[in-house]
């Protein structure tokens, strides 16, 4: 697993290069993202096959779960970086971004990618917390990149809520460290995740309950779970689209990864019941909270942001239900959501730049003017709202099936899932249909739609195929992740 540090190093180096090679920063970032995609896939599919392994003297720990997150971050960062090339060029053309700022855009972009890769790879819980905090800090300035009042407001709230949330996360982490050092003695590795996991039963139960609650609220804030999601629509709505892709597709999953790690610790100490019920409750709450905001929404990207809140809720719900089927479906759903949400944001970004606004009231008849993003938007919406034959339906079907077979609270969760997805389907399609079809008011200039966005067809095709047939490599991957999440020592 010597590739792990390389995976973090490449974006770091790219970030530095971007600053120095100002003009060709876009090319550097795109190339770096392709390289990380290759390395990430190798690490991910490697981790699916072989059981967990440590590297760099225990500093790095890669098992199936971290492999999945690495794969998601690799895919999403590739889409984001490739789309950023065209997006930034358009933004510079329309004067939204000053040419001098371009290098800093890519600098922070690659830095945040590096931080996101670090989260799943680091074995030490403290360092993982630092990595998550770094993802917040590196993306904060990106959210405020457009220097508009709204963007600054979004960035400020993003930073403040994120920092307070993670502070509570740190406090939870601290209590875990106390319980671990109290039980395992002074070993500095008391914060190494796999050690803790092995000795989880020895930890003090009452402390671990408080610690899990703190961590769930702390990392939950970063994962956009309700009621700590309030920063998410502002940040994703105001950020430049490639950053929204990164935030929605990759960052939420990293934060959720943190929650899942502690969920495994909590199950080790307290048994499955306590933390699963908490996860199930907060998941169902997130789905229900997202519904009203999708129904009466006035901005396209905020609509997609609330959809992310809903889908993080679905994944939490799935892990809460537990059992091999639900955990397999949870892992599957994380990948589906990342792919579908990235395509949606790319299509929304293309339309936003074309029409010059993202207000749903002024976006009409896109199919006539920009057929490809309009089609991408509609197909993406059908996919993200869990409509067969797209893959998100398959994973949600698996979660609902596990819910119906599981304990009463799981059944309630499955019913909330079905009802929530139907309502969100109605709301989102109502808005997206008015955007995509009908007659477009003005003639947005054709140049808006860059070549880069034309490749959103790739993830959509993948989602369509995975809806019915899973490549064996991915199937084993999800089974391995289900194994990691499900094993009770």
């Amino acid at each position: 697993m010597t590739l792990a540090p390389v995976l973090i190093g490449v974006p770091l180096m790219a970030a530095l290069l971007c600053v120095f090679l100002g003009r060709r920063a876009a090319a550097v970032s795109a190339a770096a993202s392709v390289v990380t995609l290759a390395i990430g896939s190798v690490i991910a599919f490697g981790s699916f096959a072989v059981p967990a392994e440590r590297a760099l003297g225990g500093l790095v720990y890669v098992d199936a779960l971290s492999g999945l997150i690495v794969l998601i971050v690799a895919l999403v960062s590739a889409i984001a970086a490739l789309y950023a090339v065209a997006y930034v060029r358009n933004a510079v053309a329309t004067g939204e971004i000053a040419p001098a700022q371009v290098r800093w855009f890519y600098f922070w972009l690659q830095l945040s990618i590096a931080a996101m890769f670090a989260v799943p790879l680091l074995n030490n819980l403290g360092l993982m917390w630092v990595a998550v905090e770094m993802t917040t800090l590196t993306t904060a300035l990106l959210v405020a990149f457009f220097r508009r009042g709204h963007a600054l407001e979004a960035a400020w709230k993003y930073l403040m809520i994120g920092a307070v949330g993670l502070a509570f996360g740190l406090f939870g982490l601290l209590l875990t460290y106390y319980a671990a050092s109290h039980a395992l003695g002074e070993a500095a590795s008391a914060l190494a995740w796999d050690e803790l996991r092995a000795h989880a039963s020895a930890l003090d139960p009452s402390l671990m309950r408080v610690a899990f609650a703190l961590v769930l609220v702390g990392f939950g804030t970063k994962a956009g779970l309700a009621p700590m999601h309030t920063w998410l629509p502002d940040a994703h709505g105001q950020a430049p689209t490639p950053v929204s892709v990164l935030l929605s597709g990759a960052l939420l999953n990293c934060a959720l990864y943190g929650v899942l790690r502690f969920h495994l610790l909590a199950t080790g100490t307290l048994g499955v019941q306590f933390s699963s019920d908490l996860l199930l409750g907060i998941g169902a709450l997130s789905i229900l909270v997202a519904v009203p905001f999708v129904l009466v929404q006035h901005d396209l990207k905020r609509l997609l942001a609330y959809s992310s809140v809903e889908h993080m809720g679905i994944v939490a719900l799935a892990v809460g239900i537990g059992g091999p089927l639900a955990l397999f479906a949870a892992a599957f759903h994380m990948l589906n959501h990342a792919l579908a949400k990235s395509t949606l944001f790319v299509a929304a970004g293309a339309l936003g730049q074309g029409y010059g606004t993202l207000r749903l009231a002024r976006l009409h008849g896109a199919i006539e003017v920009a057929p490809l993003p309009a089609l991408g938007l509609v197909l993406g919406t059908l996919a993200i709202t869990g409509t067969p034959p797209f893959a998100p339906f398959t994973s949600e079907f698996g979660i609902a099936q596990a819910g119906f077979l599981g304990r009463p609270s799981a059944l309630v969760g499955a019913v909330v899932l079905l009802a929530g997805t139907v309502l969100v389907f109605g709301g989102m399609l109502f808005h997206v249909l008015r955007v995509a079809v009908g007659t477009s008011p003005g003639r947005p200039h054709k140049a808006a739609f860059p070549f880069a966005a034309s490749f959103i067809g790739l993830p959509l095709a993948a989602l369509l195929v995975m809806g019915v047939w899973l490549p064996p490599a991915l199937r084993n991957g999800f089974t391995a992740v289900a194994g990691v999440l499900g094993v009770v020592p």
């Binding site: 030490n124 630092v130 929404q297």
Partner: protein, 217 residues
Amino acid sequence: MNDAGAVVDGLAVALLAVALFSVTIRGLVAGVWILVAQSALLALVAATMALWSGATHMWAAAFLTLTVRAIAVPAVLLWILRAVALRRETRPLLSTRHALILALALTLIAFFAAGRLELADAFPAHNALPVSLALIFVGLLLMTTRRKAVSQLVGLITIENGIFLAGLIATLGMPLFVEIGIFFDLLVAVGVTAVLTLRINEHFDTMNTDQLRRLRG
């Protein structure tokens, strides 16, 4: 042995006093200087802990606290205030009297909650943990009642200090490289916030976060 515990208890009480005082003052620069005081007291606590436990990394933690929390962060805050030429906080949401009463109530809750945490055989300073919880609650109170961006940042750093104190007491500090990571993280956070505050001030030509309420629904 218990004299170390007594010293830490004394310092903890001092910390609590400083925190309660910060709730009452209006001046922003005064707020920053309160942070310096808090950080200094924390450094002393770390030092006594190092003396008591003899652990070498405690000394490093104490030194780091002094340089980062007591010197670097306040320096950045003061630079912001000078760049923005802002002196006073506008009228906060809660009047001083109410804020103080609320702060005292929160402190009581903190003592009650800490009791429940029964960190039995931690460092013998039995009232240091409640103080850290009090610091966290007061910091949150500062953030939710102040309007100016910088004072919200001061509230945030108070919360961080509270957690750091709890860390010192309960587990003699985190493993060293984690400690370094957290400090580095705090520094970068303050830096980024500083840049953001300047941009907000440049765009809205005021630090009042009431401007930042237009993203709704």
